[in-house]
Symmetry: C2
Subunit: 120 residues, 2 copies
Amino acid sequence: MNPKRCAACKYLRRRCPKDCIFAPYFPPNDPAKFACIHRIYGAGNVSKMLQQLPDQTRAEAVESLCFEAKCRVDDPVYGCVGIIHLLQTQIQNAQNELAKTQAEVAVAQTKLSQTQNSDF
Amino acid sequence: MNPKRCAACKYLRRRCPKDCIFAPYFPPNDPAKFACIHRIYGAGNVSKMLQQLPDQTRAEAVESLCFEAKCRVDDPVYGCVGIIHLLQTQIQNAQNELAKTQAEVAVAQTKLSQTQNSDF
């Protein structure tokens, strides 16, 4: 066994070719990263998706695929979409809080101008 | 050809079995839904994921998988994660706006109490 095979080729029990599409993104010291992505998308699909992307965007694509795969493993029903719903709720709450606080500003400013007018 | 085959079996050019795991979620009148999910995950992976879930959660799982697959087709580098980053930026903006407005409330209230005290 060549200890320098990338995590993907190690997982797939194959020789790691010189131009391996996975090697730059799946170093041998992090086997869980590939296991997760392989379980959700399959190695073939990931390889196909990476091949369709320009080199300089592949690292980011791998990170986002790994994130989504991990979310799907953690939450097999909602995956990443669960996080999106959670964030949308947080935005709604923050916007409600903002509207409430803006109303408080308006009330305080009205009171202030009434008090100042009554000084004359 | 049986016109009642589900969209998945039609796409996979196979007979739609009575207990087809895809049939309840991929009606024949929406072929694009399966095409998208097949392109990103592969039919085998989706079937495996659904089999591991209790019946009553499968419809929601299919919806979230379809959403993620569509995001990945639309944005092959960031997929769903692009939406998550966008929402996180929105939350940050809303929270900044909220902090600013809360500071305005504090200023207005301080001025108000100073004005009221100066009345005595």
